[in-house]
Structure formats: C-alpha cells, structure tokens
Subunit: 316 residues, 2 copies
Amino acid sequence: LRAVIYDGTVQFDPGRQRPEPGRDEILVRVTAAGICNTDLEIIRGYSGFSGILGHEFCGVVESSGPLRKKRVVGEINIGCQKCRLCLNGLEKHCRKRSVLGIINKDGAMADYLTLPARNLHMIPDSVQDDEAVFIEPLAAAMQVTNQLRNAGDAQILVMGDGKLGILSAIALKQDFKNVTLSGKHAHKLDIAKAFDIHAIHKDDLIQNSPFYDIIVEATGSQDGLHEALRLVRPTGTVVLKTTIAGESRLDLASIVVKEIKIVGSRCGPFPQAIKMLAEKRINLKPLITASYPIEKALQAFEHAASKESLKILLTF
Amino acid sequence: LRAVIYDGTVQFDPGRQRPEPGRDEILVRVTAAGICNTDLEIIRGYSGFSGILGHEFCGVVESSGPLRKKRVVGEINIGCQKCRLCLNGLEKHCRKRSVLGIINKDGAMADYLTLPARNLHMIPDSVQDDEAVFIEPLAAAMQVTNQLRNAGDAQILVMGDGKLGILSAIALKQDFKNVTLSGKHAHKLDIAKAFDIHAIHKDDLIQNSPFYDIIVEATGSQDGLHEALRLVRPTGTVVLKTTIAGESRLDLASIVVKEIKIVGSRCGPFPQAIKMLAEKRINLKPLITASYPIEKALQAFEHAASKESLKILLTF
C-alpha cells in the first residue's frame, strides 16, 4: 500500500505491506486524511514516533461484519482495557495506550489502517469525506466547551489563528455569544470573521486592561500561556490547547495571586462533532487550504508547515 | 508606637508615629501577630514593599462606635470599591488594591494598625489571641476546600510540610477522608500525624504510579508544580498555593496531554475559619513553634526562617 512514513525523515513509500487487523480490530480503507500540527511536531522529533503518520481520517470498512462498507471515522487512543484508568472511562489517558499515528501504532496516511471496532464511528451520508476529516480536530475543539460549564455570557478570547484556534472559536461560537479570536494572519482572521467571530490582530488586544473571563490558548507558542495569564481576569479560566515540545518559563505566582484556573484540554467527543456536521450547523470547507494526492505527501507537508496554510488534506 | 519595619532591611522601630485612621477606617490595638512565609519573601525583596510588616493579627478596636473594645481579626485586601472587580465581589483582586503589610499599607507588626470597618471580623471569647492569629492563614487553607466541589472520596496529597501545607491538610481533613501530607521534616510530619493525617517523607511517594486525584502544591519551591504534574492522575486537579518570586520551568504539554486542571488559590473566607476555631474542631496551638515580644522581632524573623520552625508569633 501507499503510505507516508516518518523514520527520522518523512518519506512516501509506494509499496508498504498491508496491515493485518489484530484481535478486535477492523481493517479500514482510508479515503481522506488531514495533516495536523501534531504531525508537524512529530516530524520535528517531538515524540520519538516512527511509522505511518496521520490520525485525522475518513474511510470505509473492509472487514466483514456489521460495519462492512460503512463510512467511518475513528477515535485515536487505544488503551489497555485493563488498568484503573481504562476501567474508569479514561481510556484516552491509559498509560500503556497506543495512539493512531502518534504512539506505537501505524497511522492514517496510508491506503489502509486498522483500529479496534470500539474506536470507529459511522458517519451519515450528509457528511462528505473532506468534512469528515475534521471530526477528530472538531471534537478536540468542542472539548473546550465541555470543560466550560455554566460560563453563561462569558467574554471568551481564543488566542491563535491556526487550525485549532479557529476550530475552537467556531465550536465555542455555537454556545457562547462573545467569542474573540486573536492572531497575526490577516487572511486567517478573515476566514474566522466569515463564521461571525470577532477576529482581531493580537497587537490590538487591550494590553493594559485584562478582562477576558475565559481564554483558550491555542497559539502553539512557548509564550502563549504567559500572555494568557496576563490577559485573563482574576479568578478567570485559561484552557490550554497548545502541546509543544520542551519547557516554558512561567511566573507561577500570578496564577496564585489572580486565582486563575488552568485547564488542559486534549481529545474530545466524536458523536457531538459528527452531529454538528451532520446537521449542517457549520461548513468547515473554508478551512481547507489545499488537497494533495498521497503521492505528493512531501509537498503537502511543506505546504502545511507554511504560515499561510490552514488544513491540508491528502486524497487517495 | 513599636513597629517592625522593612525598608531594604528588617528593623525594630521603638518610636514610630501612631497611624491616623482614614475615612471608613478603624484603629485597632494589636495584641498578637504571626510571621508568614510571605513576610519572609518580602524581606528577600519579593514585592518591593516598604513599611510596617505583618498581615496575620489579633487585636482590640480602639475607635469609638459599635465595635469599640471588641476583639477582632481583619481581612487584608483593601480594594478601590469602584472598579468592576470590586463591584462584583472580587475586592481581593482589585488592581488598585492595597494589602495590609504587603502592598502600600502599613501592617500588623506594630502596637496599632488601621483597616476599613468592612474588613474586620469579631471573634468569640472562646478563641484565644494566639489561635486568632491563625484565622487569616486558616481561611487561606480552607479556600482549597471551597475550590474543590464534589470531590467525594478523592485521594488528596498535600505537598509541603510548612505552615500552609500543614494547615491545608488539617482543613481538608475536615471534609475529606483520604488526605496525605508529604514533606521532608520528620518532626513536622509528626505534628501533622497528631491531626490524624497520613504524613510521609516525600521520598516515599510512589514515584512511578501517579494516582492522586487532587494535589495541593504548598512546597514553596520552584519545582513543586513540576513534581505535582507528575504525581497527579490524568484529569486530576492541582491546587497551587506556592507564591514564589521568579519564573519556573514547566513542561506545559503534560498539562494538555493529561488534561490536568490547575487552580490558583490565595485568600479565603474568614467567617468559616472563625467558626471552625470557635467550635473547637481543631486546636492549632501545636503549630506554634515560639512566641517573641515585639522588641525581639529580628530574632523572631531569624527563627521563622529556619527550616525547623512552623508558626512564630510576636506578642505585645
């Protein structure tokens, strides 16, 4: 099969061996895959991963059984199913977990992948392949809303006009009236504005008057949290989305003195994301910068790493 | 009046001018004061403060009016009473606030202090002066419990066997069954054990099996939060109590990947703390290492800075 692999460098491999589904696993033929910032971090050596890249995908089930020929997306964490965390509904936090295309498990940038049946979700016909690829990152964006109960008419700032920042702002806008997105790329801010989001250049944030009740930090920068702590109101909440390798410097006393709450936020609920797309509440196609056939994966990764791009897709 | 002042160095001043109460303010004759770690940080240059030190006290009202001759303790934050934060019940977070003995306001280590009437709380006869000095730090410790709703039978670890760590463990023990205190001073751990707290040396924490649902970080160390993030379970909570000058290095990705919640925690509710002492639910006297007359303040500060001491009191 054709595959995009990382093994110190990114390579396109036209003749990789087709994977054999393990016990409880399903064989899925991939029809589309997305490039995520995590993939870009991996190819910078972020995680020590080697193998087939990719964890955002849409595909069709090849295995026999009730799911055969169904269009599916898949949750990416595979826990041991035995530990205290798995048994308490925290499989995505299992310490022995593998993660599709991220930890010890070949990923989605290939003609075929395998995943446990429990990880798969069918998608309705109304959701096209290139929208379905967004379900994983949209779920991660919607996780922010799930972690912000009872926030009412909060003033929310999403920092960062990358894929995750814009998706988070779009998801929050479904439930909150006052959502501001800050960034530094005019055309990305324009895309957010088309979703009725108040989008401003980061230099135009009111520098000396912190007043945001909730800040979603999705800058992908070492300094993002430091800036968020400055801009959030006392007793406010900072939702941390940025996963970046290495350590950051932080004035911890400000967290205590302002009694700020910081909430780490990772993967989210697939069913909610599928429902939002199925109901046509949002159209994410404006976030697609370009699609490349899998043979052009190196070019696609280069495009994805450029500052001006948002979502880059691979097609099969 | 006699006063302990900081102005680059700590000094005892036997002839300081008696303060004039401002509008809305009450004159209080101080009968006892405590030395807090914040005072030790101030005399290391933490805050740029200069003036009379001290914010933990018990006293008697000298001004005429309904409070005259009443025994009182006092909340330490004095907001502008006009800004959005003050008007929303967040006076302790007012950006123009002064803070007794900490920011722009002469403190409690003197024969007399002044505070707005709204800051004062009467204390019942059943609470002695040397217990009443604990009301401010006990309230800060109880704030942790207030920030941990619905934690049920959580496994709680308090890191740090200093004054704030032990007080936090004592306060938490009132509401939670499973409270562990970790530290590195055998005799301080013994004091905690007398409060029925499971107290262990920090080296005996289970290094490779993070399982605490909630960790209260009160080590006073730059590395405390880093260690707490390692020991807390995924989706667990770290309550941050340590206020230490300067920046810490932190692996922010672990907060996101483990979806940890970090909650900054500062001052707390006086009425709750007064009630707990009035009802004799706890006896804090074992936490008093020594008392010194105010004239011996320099000696008292030296004792407070030594590793083996817990609370040091000044008497008048």
